[in-house]
Symmetry: C2
Subunit: 195 residues, 2 copies
């Protein structure tokens, strides 16, 4: 059952899993009427400090047909641990990637479960990914630079039968923007100019 | 010129761009002697709070042949802005993904430039990515759930000719684990059990 099919039923409580489902269905109806408002553009601005230390500011984005302001930017840090020649002042870039994936799978699952009226009590997830640094260090051209594989294990508390629990879990990979981006790949252009 | 070729020259100062290059070359030599120490395993543990709010703990990882401890976990938050039915308590998952990409491209460029003895004074990058929510909302099966494209623009301050500046910039996409993961895709398994 998709959000579109449920939206027409209009028999759900106002909030499920903390998600304002009436607003979710209004959003769906608004996009069906004006598909262009579904186009979002997300942005960050990153500044290098030293060695592996750098920092991103996350502020405005475009969506729902207009620039969306925030009261102040979020700041995200990055560093590497000593064994990777950093000072361990923050999580490293691939750990941030795992967080992005966990967060997106979880939110996608929780939103789509809410749209179906499925109440979830608790969600935890453990993620791990394997990287062989021979790729990054140009030591073996047969070794890729990035993750060879990532494993995600969810633990979910919800009053649903076992089979439904598996269906609920799959709402994440079935809808998550980060999961799709990471598993299917995204074209990324990189340009440079002088500062 | 690769790190391996430079390592044999052994004529560089101790630190370039804040990167301890002698240690970098020692790492390269150690991995050439024992390739298995290049295998790393990164992990996070995520807990859902409510609606779009969830939080990851980033702690131990495996690398250089042993478990690597941290004195305390890093905590990474996630939420969605009001227009996406959240409370805007933190950057959202796709913004975290852009941060991971910016951080990794920057660090990869800075490390490999350091290995070549190229001093960099400043690096900034602006990233943007396009998502059409008709995918996430099951409204158009021809629209993907994730980013359609991502654009990265670097501004670099370094005393090198224009052509070399472009080469330096490309050290990022040429080595970055997050860039490779995101552009070429990673197999991700998702399993669930009852909590």
């Amino acid at each position: 059952m998709t959000i579109t099919e449920v939206a027409t039923a209009d028999v759900l409580p106002r909030t499920v899993n903390g998600v304002p489902v009436d607003d979710l269905f209004k959003t769906v109806d608004a996009i069906k009427a004006t598909p262009s408002i579904a186009k979002f553009n997300f942005r960050i601005f990153n500044q290098w400090h030293n060695a592996a230390k750098n920092r991103s500011a996350v502020d405005m984005f475009y969506g729902a047909g207009q620039e969306q302001l925030r009261s102040k930017p979020f700041v995200l840090e990055a560093d590497e641990p000593p064994v990777l020649l950093g000072t361990d002042a923050a999580a490293n870039p691939v750990e941030h990637l795992l967080h992005a994936l966990a967060a997106c799978l979880t939110t996608s699952m929780v939103y789509h479960a809410a749209a179906q009226g499925i109440q979830i009590q608790k969600v935890e997830s453990s993620l791990e990914g394997d990287i062989d640094l021979q790729g990054f260090l140009d030591l073996d051209k047969n070794v890729r630079n990035g993750f060879r594989s990532i494993r995600v294990n969810f633990k979910i508390k919800a009053d649903v039968p076992d089979e439904k629990l598996q269906e609920v879990c799959q709402l994440g990979p079935g809808h998550s923007p980060v999961f799709d981006s990471l598993t299917n790949g995204v074209p990324v252009s990189v340009t440079a100019e002088r500062l």
